[in-house]
Symmetry: C2
Subunit: 515 residues, 2 copies
C-alpha cells in the first residue's frame, strides 16, 4: 500500500505525542488553548522550570522591557545585531542596554575556549611586540612569524622565512608606527569591514583563522609572554564576570630567550601557578582546568601518543587536566571514527580519560564528518563542543539527552566560521526551546574581536532565544556552566555558592534600576 | 536548591528519552553502536520506513552515486547551490544531473502556490504585453501599471498614474525593443545578479515582491489572459511532472476589454472550466482546487466578510473550493489571533470551512506574529503554510504531529524572502530528520525565477535533507503531496494510482541509466 497511515508513523512521532499534556478539548476557547500551549512551551524551554524570587521577577521585568524595546526597534529599522555578521554588529551590540546588563551578569564558567584565542589581540600588539628581543620574518606565503631571541637567531632558509628583523629597530625607522601596528592587529584577528567579501567561503575564513594561530605562536609561546598571556586572559574573563575556565590547550613547546624549550608538563604546571597567583589577587575567582587537545590533522599513531600523553598528564595533575579533545576544522580533518583505535586506549587500559569532543561543527549532514556526533556519544563524551548538527541527528539527540551530555554553543564562532549567518536560525534555538542542556561559550573571542563571554551571551539571549528567552534562561545558562564543569563536587558546591552571591547582587542591582 | 538534578529535567527531555531504543550496552563495539544509531536515524527520517522494491533500490543507488559526486565536488569547490542564493545558484542547479532526474520525477501535487506567481514571467512579457489594446502607465512611485481597454481609458489623476500609453504604439517607436522587454521582465520578477545588495533586508525584498503583484495585476486579471494564464500555468507544472495543484487564490475581479467586471464566482467557475479543458488534453492530469485567500492587512470586519464569502463559495463549488487562508507578509500583517472572531464564524454557524493557514513564516521567535502557529493549531488548520518557526514551538510541534498536520515547505521562497540564507540551516532539516509530515512546494516560483516544483525539490533533497535524504525521502514527499491534498478519498486513491504508474516508469528509467 502506498499511503502510510498512522500505524506507520515513525517512532519519534508517537513519542513526541506522548509528551503532549491532556489535549485541550474543543470546548476550550482560543484564549484558553493558547494560554495552555504558551505555558507548556514556557515550561519546556531552557530554564523554564526555574521559580524566580520576587526580586528576580522584578529584575526580569526590567530586563525584558529593555529587550522588547530593542527588538521592536530592530523590527522597525531592520537592523538586528544577531542577524548581522558580528563584525558589522559589534558596535551596535556595544550600544545595547541589554548587552551592558549581560556584561555585569555573573556568567559562571567558560567551558569552550581555546588556549591562545582568549585575550584581546591588541595586548599582543601594544605590549608583547614592544618587548625587547622581538624579531619577525615573513614566510613565502606572506605570513608574519615572530621569535624572541638574543642574540638574533640564525637566518632561516628562504623556503622557511625572510631574514629575522629586530622589531624594535624596524619600528624606530617607520614613518607611521600606528599604521604598522594596525596591520599587525589585522594579522592577529579575522576582523574586516566586509566579511562577506574577504571570506567568500569556509576555506577562505579557515585559512586566515589557521594563519593567525601560526603567526601569534612565536609571541605567546615565549615563556615570559606565556605567563602574562594566561594572567591577562584570566583578568579579561574575570572583568567579564566569569569565574572559572576550562581551556582546550594544545600545550605546544614554550621557549625561553636562550632557546631552552619546555615540555607539556611545564606548561600545565605554569597554568596552575599563574591561576593560583591570579586567584590570590581576585576574590571569588575559582580557577582553571586544561583539556589537552591535539589537531585532527595528525595521523592515528600520533594521536595514539597524544592520548597516552593525556593519560600521563592527568595522572600527574589530576586537578588540572580534565581530559582530552581533538581540535581543528572538522570538515577537512580526520573523523573521530578514524581515530577510534587511539580513542579506545584508555578503556583498554582501564583508565578513565574524559573526552570533550568537538563534534557536529558542520553543515554537511549525512557525510562522514557529520557522524562525529555518533562517535562522541558512543565514547561517552563528557560534553560536546558545538554540536551544531545535533538536531539533525534525532537518535544522538535523544541518547545524549538521556546521558545529560551538554553542548557547548559558541554563536559568534559558528557565524564567523560560516556555519550560519542569521543567528536566529542557529540550531541551538530548537534545543533551547526544548530545554536541552547547554552552555554558552566563546571559542576564540579574541580572534573574532569579541571579549569574555558577554558578546556570545548577547547573541544567544537576543538571537538564538528570541523573545522567549528571559532571566530564567540566563540563570539556567550560568548554572549549567558550573553544573557541567569538571570541578569536583565539593568545589562545584563552593563555586555555585560564590556564583549565587554574585547573582543575588546582580539581580538586586537590576531590580533597583530606574525604569 | 540551585542545581537542577535529573528530576527537574523538562518534560520533553524525559519523553524524548522514552523513544530511545534499548540502549546499547558498553560491551557493544563502536561499530555496532554506530550501526544501531545510524539505523535508528534512518528509520526516523522522512520516508525512512518505506521498503523499496529491487528496482527502486537500484534506482536509488544510481541517484545517490550522482548525489554523492555532486556533494563531494561542492565540498572541494566550496560552491554548493543550496548554500548560495538561488539567483546565483540557478545556472549551477541547471547543470546538475540530480536536478535533471528530479525534473523527470513524478512529484505528485503542488499544495502551496499562489494564483499569479506560477507561470514563467517571460510569457507575460513575450505573449501578453504583445496583445492588442494593452496600455501602460507609470505610478508616482515608479511602478508600471497595465490595462487592456478599447478605446483608451480616461487619463488617471497624476496622483494615480501617468497617462495611458498604448504599448503596441510605444514599442513601435523604440530603438531597442529587447532592452525594453528585459526591463519589463525585471519588473515582473525578483531576479537580480546581486540579491544581497539589491535586497539589503526583508523590507526591501517584500516591497519589490508586492510591487510585482501590483504590476502584473492589470495583465493577469484581463479575462482572456486570465484563462490563458491558468492553462499555461497548468502546462508548466504538468511539464514538470506535477499532476494536481491547490492554488491560494485571492479571486480579484477579472475584467473584460469593455470594462465589465467579474466576481469571485466567475473566477472559480473559470478555474474549473480551464482545468477541465486542460485535463482533457493532458493524460493523467488530476485537476486543481482553490484555497480562497485574503490579505492579512485587511481589517477584522473585512475578513469577516471574506470568511462568509469563502463559506458561500464552498457551498457553490464544493469540489473546487478547498478552504480559506490569509496571505501576505506575516511579520507586518495582522496576527491570526487578531482575526479570531472572524475565524470562529464557521464554527459558530456549524459550518465546516477548512483552514490552510500561513503560519510561522518568521524569524522573530516569541513575538505576537510568531504565535500564529499556535492559533493555526488551535483552529485545526488542515495544513500549515511554511511553518518555518515550528521547531521553535515544541508544544505546537508535538500536537500538530499528533493531528498529522503537515507543513508546506517552500525552500526557495524562504531563502529569497530572507528567512534563511544557507538552506542546510532550514529548520525543515530537523523535521525531515525526525519524519515530521511535510510537502515541498514552490510558493511563487515565477517571481523567484524558478519553475514548477523541481528547483524546490532540488534544494530540499540536496540542501535540507543532506546526504541522508535518498529515494525514500523523495517518494515519501511525492506521496505526502497526494495524501495531504484535499482530494476526496476516492479521487485520492485514483490520483495515487496514476502517480504510482508514473513513479514506476520513472524508477525503471533511472534504474536502467548507465552508470
Amino acid at each position: 500500500m502506498l499511503m502510510d497511515g498512522p500505524s506507520r508513523r515513525p517512532a519519534l512521532s508517537s513519542l513526541l505525542l506522548a509528551m503532549a499534556m491532556p489535549f485541550f478539548c474543543s470546548a476550550l476557547s482560543i484564549d484558553e488553548a493558547w494560554s495552555q500551549l504558551l505555558m507548556r512551551e514556557k515550561m519546556m524551554q531552557l530554564g523554564g522550570q526555574l521559580v524566580l524570587t520576587k526580586q528576580e521577577e522584578l529584575a526580569n521585568k526590567k530586563l525584558m522591557a529593555l529587550k522588547k524595546a530593542e527588538v521592536s526597534q530592530a523590527m522597525r529599522t531592520q537592523k538586528f545585531p544577531p542577524s548581522m555578521h558580528f563584525f558589522q554588529a559589534k558596535t551596535l551590540i556595544e550600544q545595547s542596554e541589554v548587552f551592558h546588563i549581560l556584561k555585569k551578569m555573573p556568567k559562571g564558567a567558560a567551558l569552550h575556549i581555546h588556549d591562545f584565542g582568549i585575550l584581546s589581540m591588541n595586548w599582543l600588539v601594544k605590549n608583547v611586540t614592544y618587548r625587547p628581543h622581538c624579531h619577525f620574518c615573513v614566510t613565502p606565503r606572506g605570513s608574519w612569524k615572530f621569535k624572541f631571541a638574543y642574540p638574533t637567531p640564525p637566518t632561516p632558509t628562504p623556503a622557511e622565512c625572510s631574514e629575522w628583523v629586530l622589531l624594535e629597530k624596524y619600528r624606530s625607522k617607520l614613518p607611521n608606527v600606528t599604521d604598522f601596528d594596525n596591520r599587525l592587529l589585522q594579522a592577529f584577528t579575522l576582523m574586516t569591514e566586509k566579511p562577506e567579501v574577504t571570506y567568500a567561503n569556509q576555506d577562505a575564513v579557515w585559512s586566515k583563522f589557521k594563519s593567525i594561530f601560526f603567526t601569534i605562536s612565536g609571541l605567546v609561546q615565549y615563556a615570559p609572554v606565556f605567563r602574562d598571556y594566561v594572567f591577562h586572559a584570566l583578568e579579561e574573563f574575570y572583568q567579564d564576570n566569569v569565574l572559572y575556565l576550562e581551556l582546550r590547550a594544545m600545550l605546544f613547546p614554550v621557549y625561553e630567550l636562550n632557546g631552552t624549550i619546555h615540555n607539556e608538563e611545564w606548561s600545565v604546571e605554569t597554568y596552575r601557578e599563574v591561576a593560583h597567583m591570579f586567584a590570590k589577587k581576585h576574590p571569588g575567582f575559582i580557577g582553571i582546568k586544561i583539556i589537552y587537545s591535539v589537531h585532527r590533522f595528525e595521523n592515528v599513531s600520533s594521536v595514539m601518543k597524544s592520548v597516552q600523553t593525556a593519560m600521563k598528564l592527568r595522572t600527574l595533575f589530576p586537578e588540572m587536566v580534565a581530559g582530552f579533545d581533538l581540535v581543528g576544522r572538522e570538515d577537512t580533518g580526520h573523523s573521530l571514527y578514524d581515530y577510534r583505535e587511539a580513542l579506545m586506549i584508555p578503556t583498554l587500559h582501564g583508565v578513565k580519560l574524559p573526552y570533550f569532543f568537538h563534534a557536529g561543527e558542520t553543515d554537511w549532514q549525512g557525510t562522514s564528518v557529520d557522524r562525529n556526533l555518533l562517535v562522541a556519544l558512543i565514547l561517552n563524551s563528557t560534553r560536546i563542543g558545538h554540536g551544531f548538527a545535533l538536531t539533525k541527528h534525532p537518535a544522538v539527540w535523544a541518547d545524549s539527552w538521556k546521558k545529560d551530555i551538554p553542548i557547548e554553543v559558541c554563536p559568534i564562532s559558528n557565524q564567523v566560521l560560516k556555519l550560519v549567518s542569521d543567528l536566529r536560525n542557529h540550531p541551538a534555538a530548537v534545543l533551547m526551546a526544548t530545554g536541552y542542556p547547554m552552555v554558552i561559550s566563546s571559542d576564540d573571542p579574541a580572534v573574532f574581536g569579541a571579549k569574555g563571554l558577554s558578546y556570545d551571551f548577547y547573541e544567544a539571549f537576543m538571537g538564538i532565544g528570541g523573545m522567549s528567552a528571559d532571566l530564567r534562561t540566563l540563570k539556567q545558562l550560568a548554572m549549567n556552566s558550573i553544573k557541567f564543569s569538571t570541578l569536583l563536587d565539593i568545589n562545584k558546591k563552593a563555586a555555585m555558592k560564590t556564583w549565587e552571591e554574585r547573582w543575588n547582587k546582580f539581580v538586586a542591582d537590576l531590580a533597583r534600576r530606574p525604569t
